[in-house]
């Protein structure tokens, strides 16, 4: 037992003392936030200002189209055929053709010809502008006053509630599953990162031949478990430091915002919001909230059951990691160098990727049978169960959580048992390309 501690200590300290670990731990959360912000920004931003030529067959009806923030309209007397001929040499980025029968009564649609696809937002905005003109046209035709129209106009979103046996009603939001997905993703990356580290460590000991000295002092199983547990502690250390960093960041931001939030500012903000909503033709739902306002008790960050989620995360991280790390260790033992690991890595990665894909689908549809099975089977449950748990688990589902936990524990005991057999034989085997058949023999006969 003393010896396994020595091994854990070495595996832990050599990694934690590395510069790359310290840098990654300090910068990790910022880099991650930066990456998410960058992806969101790039996904949402438009390619560039659009210069749209309007070919209006119903002129002058659509002369009133307002320019948008990111695009402007130009008008011409040309017909569509001429406009198309000139299009490629012109500076216009798109042609908007409004056919003759665009009066909102007959079925017809405007056409947009473009050189490069404008973003969905630009297209929706242009649609809105055209709709507005047609609506005004119809109001005039049927004699409806603008004020009457505004009164009847309705816009709603359904408020969704989950009904549980305790009689509680709890709101279900995509945002919550997103948090679960975030946790699942973190487990996915932790298993990959640290699992690969286990494999590398084993390959290293094998290729630099220190293995024989070590296993003349300790049992191979002690060495394997020491390595797996030591690296697990590196992962946990990193996670705990990240949580501390993130919570410090959030609470600092919250206190700063709280102190600044006086009445005047609040009013100002609400005015700005209302104006924005009116402009975009939306009417605010009662439960609308600003995801960036950390002082709002309804805010996402304040509505997740964090102790529960972090507890589950730690259990499923350790369980999932142990399950996969044993397999990674076995792969490391079965090969002579890292380039040979590919053929064995593939089948180990597949269930991980399946779990990842399953949980990304669950953001939209959290309670499918696939998500049930995914959260029970030990190879996928560490990732999938966290997405489920983020929406809250009611008492009727406790047995599922218990089953998933028990199966995961049984799962990692099983993979460790199998891996230990492969490991014991593999670490002393050199210069031989190992096949699956060979591995099976090791498991059966040793």
């Amino acid at each position: 037992m003393d010896k396994i501690w020595l091994i854990i200590k070495r595996e832990y300290l050599t990694r934690v003392k590395k510069k790359s670990f310290i840098i990654m731990t300090l910068l990790g959360p910022f880099l991650m936030a930066l990456a998410i912000a960058l992806i969101t920004y790039l996904g949402m931003s438009d390619s560039g200002p659009q210069n749209i030529l309007v070919v209006d067959d119903m002129a002058p009806v659509f002369d009133r189209l307002e320019d948008g923030s990111n695009y402007k309209f130009d008008y011409s007397d040309m017909d569509l055929a001429d406009a198309k001929k000139l299009f490629s040499e012109s500076e216009y980025t798109a042609i908007l053709w409004i056919p003759e029968i665009m009066d909102g009564e007959r079925s017809s649609r405007p056409f947009l010809y473009f050189k490069e696809q404008p973003s969905g937002r630009v297209i929706r905005s242009v649609e809105g502008k055209i709709e507005k003109v047609i609506e005004e046209m119809k109001m005039a035709k049927y004699g409806i006053a603008k004020s009457d129209y505004d009164k009847v106009r309705t816009n709603l979103t359904i408020a969704t509630y989950k009904f549980t046996d305790e009689g509680e009603e709890e709101e279900v939001r995509t945002e919550k599953t997103l948090v679960g997905f975030g946790f699942g993703l973190l487990i996915f990356f932790f298993i990959m990162m640290y699992g690969i580290q286990v494999m590398r460590g084993v390959v290293e000991e094998k290729t630099n031949r220190i293995i024989e000295v070590i296993i003349s002092s300790v049992k191979p199983f002690q060495l394997m478990m020491g390595k797996i547990l030591g690296i697990a502690m590196v992962g946990l250390t990193q996670f705990i430091l990240w949580v501390i960093l993130m919570f410090t960041f959030v609470s600092v931001t919250q206190t700063v915002l709280m102190s600044q939030k006086d009445e005047a500012m609040l009013n100002q903000m609400e005015q700005v919001q209302t104006v924005q909503q009116m402009q975009s033709g939306e009417i605010a739902g009662a439960d609308d909230f600003n995801p960036f306002d950390l002082t709002d008790p309804d805010n996402l960050i304040n509505r997740i059951n964090w102790p529960f989620m972090i507890g589950l995360f730690i259990f499923y991280f350790i369980g999932g990691y142990l399950l996969y790390a044993a397999l990674f260790a076995a792969i490391g033992a079965a090969v002579d160098n890292e380039t040979d690991t590919q053929q064995f890595l593939f089948p180990v990665m597949i269930p991980l990727y399946i779990a990842y894909m399953l949980s990304s689908l669950m953001i939209e549809n959290p309670e499918s049978p696939a998500s049930f099975w995914g959260s029970i089977i030990p190879f996928t449950s560490p990732i999938v169960m966290l997405v489920r748990a983020s929406m809250g688990i009611d008492s009727a589902e406790y047995w599922q959580l218990a089953l998933s936990v028990i199966l995961l524990i049984a799962g990692f005991i099983g993979t460790t048992w199998i891996a230990a057999k492969i490991y014991r034989v593999g670490i002393l085997m050199y210069g031989k390309k190992v096949s699956y058949k060979e591995l099976w023999k090791w498991i059966r006969f040793h």
Binding site: L6, N208, I210, E212, V213, S216, S217, L428
Partner: protein, 310 residues
């Protein structure tokens, strides 16, 4: 208890081939024991079994008369043929780690390491990473960690490969010193000249079986061909004629004029005394010496005859 180590009928099979087929060896306490054999004979497998790295399929291994157990690991020091260290780890740190795995206390290990590092004049390497050292330097470190915990039984697998002559002598002296202080040493090699120089007992393994064992003297006696070297002054022809009673001349060389060195073979029913009686009237004998086969000859002879019968 005379033998520190005994293996009895040890068998080990790997998928498809037998690595050890009922091998029994006895290593006397305090001896330097040569475990010999060509590559792939099963030496390393036997050593791994003694080190509890692998388990035998059948047969027993006794250390100090007891079945091998976990606690025995700290009584053995093992220098494998293929050796290595963690490349990214500092020398001192790494030595402490390996010493503690062998069951040493931190303080004890530190004190002894300092002693060895000063003895080998390498204290300046303490904080260097292993990857900064040359291969020979790393070998020295490896030797130190093998003997640091003062094992009762030291197993060295081809210990001199990779050492330059100066370091080879350094290590040889250390081995001899430790042996004088009571350490038993098993020395696995196919370098026969070093066997002759330092081993008292040997076992020869070929094709997974032990084909020869005993003290070096015994083995040599078993293999001697009744050959003698005679130095004499006188005519070679006279000498040859005098031999006719049975002994035959194998080779001769003239050192000076009428001064010869001849190698002869004496048949089993005769003795050197008979030969001397025959030749004394004819030549002046300056010396007579029995020719014993070298370990190298024995090695080759034993293995080729074993391979033929196998």
């Amino acid at each position: 208890m005379n033998n520190i180590l005994e293996t009895q009928n040890v068998r080990k099979e790997y998928a498809g081939h037998t690595a050890l087929n009922g091998v029994s060896i006895e290593v006397p306490k305090g001896s330097i024991f040569g475990l010999l054999g060509p590559n792939g004979a099963g030496k390393t497998t036997l050593i791994r079994i003694i080190n509890q790295i692998t388990m035998p399929d059948s047969g027993t291994v006794l250390l100090n008369g007891e079945q091998l157990k976990e606690a025995h690991r700290s009584l053995i020091g093992y220098l494998p043929e293929e050796r290595g260290l963690y490349r990214k780890m500092k020398v001192g740190e790494q030595c402490l780690y390996i010493a503690q795995l062998k069951g040493m206390e931190y303080k004890d290990a530190l004190a002894k390491l300092k002693f060895w590092f000063e003895k080998f004049e390498i204290i300046q390497w303490w904080d260097k990473k292993v990857e900064e050292l040359s291969k020979g330097m790393a070998q020295k470190i490896q030797f130190i960690v093998t003997v640091l915990h003062e094992p009762e039984l030291l197993i060295l697998d081809e210990p001199f490969s990779g050492f330059d002559p100066i370091n080879t002598n350094l290590i040889k002296d250390e081995i001899k010193r430790m042996n004088e202080e009571g350490t038993t040493i098993i020395f696995s090699t196919h370098n026969m000249s070093s066997v002759e120089e330092i081993c008292q007992d040997i076992a020869l393994i070929n094709h997974s079986e032990k084909i020869l064992s005993g003290t070096v003297r015994e083995v040599k006696n078993d293999f001697k061909a009744n050959e003698y070297q005679i130095e004499f002054v006188g005519g070679l022809l006279k000498f040859t004629n005098a031999l006719w009673t049975g002994a035959s001349l194998i080779s001769s060389q003239e050192i000076e004029k009428d001064h010869h060195l001849a190698t002869i073979k004496i048949p089993d029913n005769s003795s050197p005394n008979d030969v001397l009686t025959n030749i004394l009237p004819h030549v002046q004998v300056r010396g007579l010496k029995e020719v014993l086969p070298s370990m190298n000859d024995i090695f080759i002879q034993a293995i080729s005859s074993n391979t033929k019968t196998a």
